[in-house]
């Protein structure tokens, strides 16, 4: 190896190390942080039965939406609805336990960009409108979900 080649090799190694350290396997944040002060919002969602009913229409919207359809059409919809319902229930201070995966783990193999994330939020908003959930109550939930973009969006 001549000096130039050696320099290039060292540089390549340095860049590789940098790239590897730039994307460490980060630990999942809590996917369902419970906030007892959101209990009134839980009531506005109609409790757990209300959230379960919401999930049915949410999934319909996700399948209707060409931006999200391909992700959910062949997935285990029953399981996803159940996990989402548990997750929302816990977040809103309800008497549930979240038994699903962390958000990073659940979406790690999917290619999701910010447009896809916002599409899902819009579909959720439309479903919540259908269920007459007050706008301010909707936003209390969305405020907890929004930061999950860091784990759900997999395409930089």
């Amino acid at each position: 190896m001549n000096p130039m080649q050696e320099l290039a090799a060292r540089l390549a190694l340095a860049i590789l190390t940098l790239l590897a350290s730039a994307s460490p396997a980060l630990a999942d944040e809590n996917p369902a942080p419970s906030d007892p002060s959101l209990l009134p919002v839980f009531e506005q969602f109609g409790g757990k039965p209300g959230i379960d009913a919401l999930m049915e229409d949410f999934m319909v919207k996700l399948i209707e939406d060409p931006r999200t359809r391909n992700y959910f059409a062949e997935a285990d919809q029953t399981h996803i609805k159940a996990m989402l319902a548990e997750q929302f229930c816990v977040i809103l201070g309800g008497p549930c336990t979240y038994t699903g995966k962390g958000m990073r783990e659940a979406h790690a193999k999917l290619v999701i960009n910010q447009g896809g994330f916002n599409a899902l939020v819009e579909d959720l908003q439309r479903a919540m409108d259908m269920h007459d959930i007050p706008f301010r109550a909707q936003n209390r939930l969305l405020a907890v979900l929004a930061p999950m973009h860091r784990e759900v969006i997999t395409e930089p």
């Binding site: 992700y71 193999k109 999917l110 290619v111 960009n113 910010q114 896809g116 599409a119 929004a146």
Partner: protein, 313 residues
Amino acid sequence: MNCSLRFCGSVTMALAMGAGVCAAAQAADPESGPASPAELARPDDTLAGSDKLLLTGGVSQLEGAAGGGLTPWAVIGGYGTRDQIGANAFLTRVGVQDYHLDGAGALIGFLDRIELSIARQRFDTEDVGAALGLGRGYSFTQTIIGLKVKLAGDAVLEQDRWLPQVSVGAQFKRNDRGDLLRAIGAKDDHGVDFYVSATKLYLSQSVLANLTLRFTRANQIGLLGFGGDRNDSYRPQLEGSVAWLLSRKLAIGAEYRMKPDNLGIAAEDDWFDAFIAWAPSKHVSLTLAYADLGNIVIKDRQRGLYASLQVGF
């Protein structure tokens, strides 16, 4: 328009070594069996897009930047996300007791990072023009080119962090009435405003707040030229907006814009407004406001209606 341009793809290609790392990591993953349909799903790569959430690109402020009515916000205009390009155009009319102002313009937002805008303004002096010997309906006109760059944060998504979205911007203004402007004491017919804006949506409260610090020499935003006999240097001016979100499509709010007072013969006041903005879809929004513009040239207590229509994709 489907450009099918894949940003990550191209970036990864540029860093050919990075691609090598990804491939190696995948091959080494013992759990990667056959991909499920969800794993094969891909986002739409169309560059011209509108996946930002409704109203989160703001409306068009007077000088053409995305913001409230009077003030630029840190948001990048249009509905493009960080993978998309968005654009819109606007028409604005402000009618107060003795004058009216017409504005029109357009902007493009690139990758939710850079905003380029252009606006044309026409300030009609109506009867005041005649009183000043300029002729009834004498108009001052100017063109404004705007540039805004997002530096940090995300006004909408970062709900668990205090950091607002922060952008810096510049507005390059050129007035067409140089000779008259110099006669009334203005030093220049062109000038550049610089600003830094911080914007944050407080979703839990359904409130959006913005603060802008502008450095400017403009007289009545440049319609009466730049610099004057009383002051000719850049002065920092504070601008602010608050908006209450009533629904996804509807927001009400108020704004304040501090202004310099450079011209001896034409005292200038700070501006206020109270507005309602309605976006029935991502393609159109309508903003109505009641504005108090204070003294303009020789007429005090200039108040009236501000109306702005924006169309985009």
